[in-house]
Amino acid sequence: MKTTSISVAYMPLVDAAPLIVGQEMGFAEAEGLDLELIPAPSWSSVRDMLAFGRVDVAHLLSVVPVAMALGLGGVTNAMSAVSVLSVNGNVIGVSRGLEAKLRALGHPFDFADARAAGTALAKVAQGGLTIGVPFPFSMHVELLHVWRASTPLATVPLEIRTVPPPMMAQALASGEIDAFCVGEPWGSVSVENGDGALLLPGRAIWSFAPEKVLATRADWAETEPHLVGRLMRTVWRAGRWLADPSSRTAAAELLSRPRWLDVPAEVVDRALTGELAISQGGEIRDVPGFLEFHQGAANFPWRSQGKWIASRLAHRMGLDPQEAARAASGVFRSDLYRSALEGTGADMPGASEKLEGALRHPTAVASERGEMILERNVFFDGRIFDPSA
């Protein structure tokens, strides 16, 4: 097969792994692709490279293509999310000062109970809280709002401020922010630097949150369906490889190289295994499913995920919810996913929408191969999102 070169923009984060592994471990080559991976310094840069044709594909925050469809932000070209690259993987961390106050209050830092953590944090931050996030349109922001709405944090004046991830630890150390919500390795880096402690993993707020997507321009997805399909299969196979526990050491070594993330393999390993060091004292917390690349049809771009994001954005930005749902309904392309992954053995659910937040336990559902297991999918406050409501 003739090899086709495709340029891909990405942010150097652990969850860019399916693309990096796809290229490095030969999954791309097997599909006749050569991925030219271009690191970007900021999410706006990733978005612009994609929107203006510098690259054809990108590792993108799941919320960005939906926001673009709703006309939010400066650039609003139509984008398609053709696969989910990763589920979960964010951490919420607090400054050393807040950590000390929380410990004085007797908070156990169990790294699991979002309600208890929110209650405790509200007690020690009555004056107000400034929280850093990587980008205004991101799962980080949405998780913080979900968390806040159902805990006493709702009574605390909250300012959410954009801080580029590599500067997060510094912003926390200098007191510019009191806390953050960020993707790995940046949470662990701030623990390593001694600037903060981790309070919660993102999955304690929503146990199955689509974090990054494989995004293309909507017109490119239409005109190059075969290339998009080969790419989708590449990242699906890379995700399956990453999910195999025996791959983890190799994956951590690979990602830690200067060419990719340039952080110690031991730090990358934490996100991949879900064994996180939450404080400088070396307390370890085990978080199964901390960052998911494959299990539970993780890559399937559910239309209901796109609609959930649209409904949250509409609520926050004061848009008409019905209009927003309509504008965003075509962003998550479950149809393209089905046709591209056919015959690979990928789990394929019978439906393309589901109630988000309604699975209290891993659940078998109807699928093309008979039965498949969807992972636990709950919001900590028990809310359920009905995409057809």
């Binding site: 310094p41 900021s42 706006s44 044709g53 400066g74 954009t162 991830p165």
Partner: protein, 194 residues
Amino acid sequence: MPSKLTIVVVEEDRDRAIAIVDALRDHGDDGVHVIGDTSGLARKIAALQPDIVLIDIDHPTRDVMEELTLASGPLERPIAMFVSGAGSGLAKAAIEAGVSAYVVDGLQPDRLKPVMDAAIARFQIMRQMRIELDETRRALEDRKVIDRAKGLLMKAKQVDEQAAYAILRKAAMDQGKRVADVAQSLVTAAGLLR
């Protein structure tokens, strides 16, 4: 005669900032301000009430600018990314040159064009210089590591410099790698064995 524009340039490197300011002054007598320290960027920009903000596309604080485009009140919302209004051809040229521009809502596109042309020209030169600098630096790094690897080989194999380099070059050819990469592996391995 239209009123003067207030232009803010976000650039940490002093020499580069001066070059941009000069380029912008050449085209008109607009007020140009430089923000060198990007902490508290939003506050500093709000205080200057600019018509246009120019920022290096490779700077991570660009995402902070994106946040400013979302502020709700008319006074809090000084900026919108220009590409949403003006022609996307200008946007593409700007992105390729490595500059990103944010303008106040309502600024006439014909007033924006000359400023952007000057900025794009300047950023193109800077980007080119940066690429050349990176290449020179890499060549220098390569030189250093090759010299160290040669030294290791000369000592271990009791050969002269020329023979040591020949060994490196042959290994590189056999493995389809760059000489510098083979040298790096050797230096790393030697460090481990020490």
